[in-house]
C-alpha cells in the first residue's frame, strides 16, 4: 500500500487507530471504575483508657450509661430497596424494628424522646462522661443513631465497653 508522504507540519506518523482504540479502552475503564468520593462522616468516641494497664486507678466519675436492647427485631429488607431481604448479603431493618433505650432508670423506645432526655441531662451536667452499652442483638446502625444523638446533645466524652465475645460463646 502506498503511504502518503507527510510534510513537516503533519506530525502524525503511522497508523493511529490502535493507539486511539487502546486509549479509549483506558478512558472507558477509568470512567467506569471511578467511584465518586462519597464523603464519609465519622463519629468520635473512646474506649476505656485504663484497661490492660491498670497502674493507676482512674478516678471513678459517675457515668451516664445508655443501654440498648432489642425489643422487636423487625423485618429484614434489602439495603437499598423496600423489598424483603432475599437471604444473601447485607440487609437493613424495616421501620418495625423496636429498640429500647435506657438512660439510668428511665427507658424509652423512641429515639426522639431519648434525644430530648439526653439534652436535658447534658444541660444539668455537661461534664458527665457517657457510656454506651449494647446488649446482644443490637446492630451497628442502632449504636450510631444513639451516638449521633449523644453528640447532638453536646456530649464529647463517650466511651464504649469492649466485650470478649469469643470467650462468652465457648462453654466453660
Amino acid at each position: 500500500m502506498k503511504r502518503r508522504r507527510r510534510k513537516a507540519e503533519e506530525p502524525i506518523k503511522g497508523d493511529m487507530t490502535p493507539m486511539i482504540d487502546v486509549t479509549f479502552q483506558l478512558l472507558i475503564f477509568f470512567m467506569l471504575t471511578i467511584k465518586f468520593k462519597t464523603l464519609e462522616g465519622k463519629l468520635s468516641a473512646y474506649l476505656p483508657k485504663d484497661v490492660g494497664v491498670n497502674t493507676t486507678q482512674a478516678e471513678p466519675k459517675e457515668k451516664l450509661e445508655i443501654k440498648l436492647k432489642v425489643i422487636a427485631e423487625g423485618t429484614k429488607l434489602m439495603p437499598r430497596h423496600n423489598l424483603l431481604w432475599t437471604g444473601e448479603g447485607a440487609f437493613r431493618y424495616g421501620p418495625d424494628r423496636v429498640v429500647q433505650y435506657s438512660v439510668g432508670p428511665r427507658t424509652t423506645r423512641d429515639l426522639k424522646e431519648l434525644a430530648k432526655r439526653l439534652q436535658e441531662l447534658f444541660q444539668a451536667n455537661p461534664e458527665q462522661p457517657v457510656t454506651l452499652d449494647a446488649l446482644p442483638g443490637i446492630v451497628y446502625d442502632d449504636v450510631v443513631q444513639v451516638l449521633d444523638q449523644a453528640i447532638n446533645a453536646g456530649y464529647r466524652d463517650i466511651t464504649f465497653v469492649g466485650y470478649d465475645i469469643s470467650k462468652e460463646q465457648k462453654p466453660g
Binding site: 502506498k2 502518503r4 506530525p11 483506558l26 464523603l39 465519622k42 468520635s44 490492660g52 493507676t56 451516638l147
Partner: protein
C-alpha cells in the same frame, strides 16, 4: 498549505491530534482522581448520622481502617483478617492492631503526664448498618489489650443532607 484531503485513499478525514490530546488529558484526570486511599474502603451501607464530622483522610497520619461486613468478616486493605466462619481466635487481627499501635505516636496515659505511653491515634471502624454490634465490641475489647491499647475510635457513618429529615424510628 496543501493537504491530502482531496485524495480519498489516504485521507484520514479529520486531524486526530486534538482529540487524542483531549482523551489523554481525560485519562490523566481519571487516573489522578481515582483516589488510591479509597481502596481501603470496602463497599458498605453505612448508617446515617446527622452529627458526623466530614472525614478527610490524611495519608501521613497512621489511622488503621477496619471494615466489618454484615456477616462479621473483618477486612483491612481488601484482606480478610477475621472470618467468623473460620475462627482463628482473632490472632491475625490482634497482630495487625499491635503492629499499627506501634507505629502510632504515643502520649502518657494520664493527663498530668504520668503513666505508661499509649498510642494516641484513632482507629476507624467502618461497619455495615446491619453488622451485629457484638463484632465491634469484640474489636473494642482487642483494642484494650496490652500491647495494643488503642483508645480512640471513630465510627464511620454516612453524612446526611441537612435538609433531609432523620428517618422515623419507632
Amino acid at each position: 498549505m496543501k493537504l491530502s484531503r482531496t485524495d480519498p485513499k489516504t485521507d484520514v478525514g479529520i486531524d486526530m491530534t486534538p482529540m487524542i490530546d483531549v482523551v489523554f488529558q481525560l485519562i490523566i484526570f481519571f487516573m489522578l482522581i481515582t483516589d488510591m486511599t479509597q481502596k481501603e474502603l470496602e463497599e458498605l451501607v453505612l448508617p446515617d448520622a446527622q452529627n458526623a464530622d466530614p472525614d478527610k483522610p490524611d495519608p501521613t497520619v497512621v489511622r488503621p481502617i477496619l471494615n466489618i461486613l454484615a456477616d462479621g468478616k473483618i477486612l483491612v486493605k481488601r484482606t480478610v483478617l477475621y472470618d467468623p466462619q473460620h475462627d482463628d481466635g482473632y490472632i491475625e487481627l490482634k497482630s495487625f492492631l499491635a503492629q499499627q499501635a506501634k507505629r502510632m505516636p504515643t502520649k502518657p496515659l494520664n493527663e498530668d503526664g504520668t503513666g505508661p505511653p499509649i498510642p494516641d491515634n484513632p482507629l476507624l471502624i467502618r461497619a455495615d448498618q446491619s453488622t451485629p454490634f457484638k463484632y465491634i465490641q469484640q474489636v473494642m475489647y482487642l483494642c484494650g489489650l496490652t500491647g495494643i491499647q488503642i483508645w480512640k475510635i471513630q465510627l464511620a457513618a454516612a453524612e446526611q443532607n441537612p435538609d433531609q429529615k432523620p428517618k422515623p424510628k419507632e
